[in-house]
Symmetry: C2
DNA sequence: CGAGTCATTGATCTGTCTCAATATTAGTGG
DNA sequence: CCACTAATATTGAGACAGATCAATGACTCG
């Protein structure tokens, strides 16, 4: 069985780091069909399951589904029936206010679970939109619940996934309620890099999958402010930015942005 | 069996509305010991359970616990073992940034469940602090999970409670990311009134349990701005404010505050 | 190559913060 | 019961971070 280190190495691109601004390797061939044989199993639904349980989990995943860049995996109001595990590609989730303002509530990547917003009222509250061509595992929630009743380990894992989302959103509330523009962007970049690193990508350079406007919506600031803040970090030698390509030159400086001052 | 209407009437104070600024009736005698006989069962854990299931649920609630105003039910870093159902009193939950800034993540009242932030890492991420003397039902999470495996209805309910929290936080993100000070306070008041009404209290007048600073922390604004916005609503005849006593004179005007403009 | 989308940068404006002073209320002890 | 204190709330004046408006530049894709 692959451990986390092996997984990391399988995706590691640091040996390619002399080629600047490369895209992360998103070759679909790397992914096997079943959970029990999936490269993402250390990050995704099967975490902590025994082999026998994991084989059972394979039966939970009913189908796979491809989503074209820009199209909706689900939309506000859609009936909720299933959770989705992201295999490849990136998503954003967002909510719309009654008067049409969009708030991006998160950016999701491979191994992350989306759709939990739909459980409470059997219909989705968010929109989930692919930021690039993507593939997801369809996990009918009935199946998840049934298997959860059988396997306490899976039950606990499902609870942890939902709890993690609650805690993540607490962090976003801290960000939106208490931080200045620079702090927000620094927190965003650090979080992104940390999650990419957990998937075996470089800790220093990556390609943003979202526009300045989407970043701004997520961080509660205007796209111009996002752009200006990127430029400021760049002038200070903390990062290098070319459009959506970002290289972190001084991670410590990014972490030291945080000082108690006014918010927005 | 009491239905929701009966519950509402049991708590209704509208007949006392000529006495302005009264406190909601929080007589502990109203509450019976067991879930199966609790006035809050239409709002709390037992929603949708059959009598037999509810009797079983009684065994989940191991003990009750009293918390003095200002003291912590749990704190960041505390080991997580149980969820809590609020019987009486109000709580705030908050997170602290590394440099000591507080972000209030929510205000909770009778019938609401807190502690779910602890599941993901077996320790709490939030602080939960009583805003007045309070009483909670202690529900060891092991028990909850065990009974969930037995009763799909309870399992689904637990999932819904967590999903509801995710959706609630999405709403707060919208508020913090996209709304002006007036909109934030209006949304806050409307939400509070709606939840109080569901518990049988007046739709028009109530007593705030939290300081201006705590409201401000929750809404991502300074206490002075909270106070000014209260005064503005008051000058416009939308509400009447005397310190923590609030009377909503024109609910429609509150709902019409929302117009797409700049945020914070 | 051309049109549309996305990003950058500048100049100005404004909502909210900051600092500061005062008013109100609740709690305490004599 | 009333002073005294601490906590909380209100209000004012000025400052500033980020929004807005606007123009230009860079990239993508058919």
């Amino acid at each position: 069985m692959l451990d986390a280190i092996t997984l990391t190495e399988a995706y590691n691109v640091s040996s390619l780091s002399d080629q600047a601004w490369i895209s992360p390797p998103m070759n679909p061939e790397l992914f096997k069909v079943a959970c029990s044989n999936c490269n993402l199993r250390e990050l995704c639904m099967p975490v902590g399951l025994q082999q026998a349980e994991m084989v059972k989990l394979d039966s939970v995943v009913s189908t796979r589904k491809r989503i074209k860049e820009g199209s909706h995996l689900f939309s506000h109001g859609d009936p909720f029936t299933t959770l989705y595990a992201i295999r490849t590609g990136y998503f954003k989730t967002s909510v719309l206010s009654e008067d049409g303002r969009e708030q991006v509530t998160g950016f999701q990547m491979a191994g992350e679970i989306i759709g939990m917003d739909g459980i409470v009222s059997d219909q989705h509250h968010c929109n989930a939109i692919a930021l690039e061509d993507a593939e997801v595992c369809v996990m009918p929630f009935e199946n998840v619940e049934e298997l959860s009743r059988e396997f306490p380990v899976l039950q606990r894992h499902v609870h942890k996934i939902m709890s993690r989302e609650i805690v993540r959103e607490n962090g976003v509330m801290m960000l939106l309620g208490n931080m200045r523009a620079e702090e927000r962007l620094a927190a965003f970049l650090l979080n992104l890099v940390q999650r990419l690193h957990a998937r075996g990508f470089s800790q220093t350079e990556f390609v943003l999958r979202m526009t300045r406007e989407e970043i701004g919506s997520y961080l509660g600031m205007k796209l111009e402010t996002v752009s200006r803040t990127f430029s400021k970090f760049s002038e200070e030698g903390i990062i290098e930015v070319k459009q959506r390509n970002v290289k972190i030159l001084n991670p410590d400086a990014l972490k030291n942005i945080f000082t108690p001052q006014s918010c927005g």
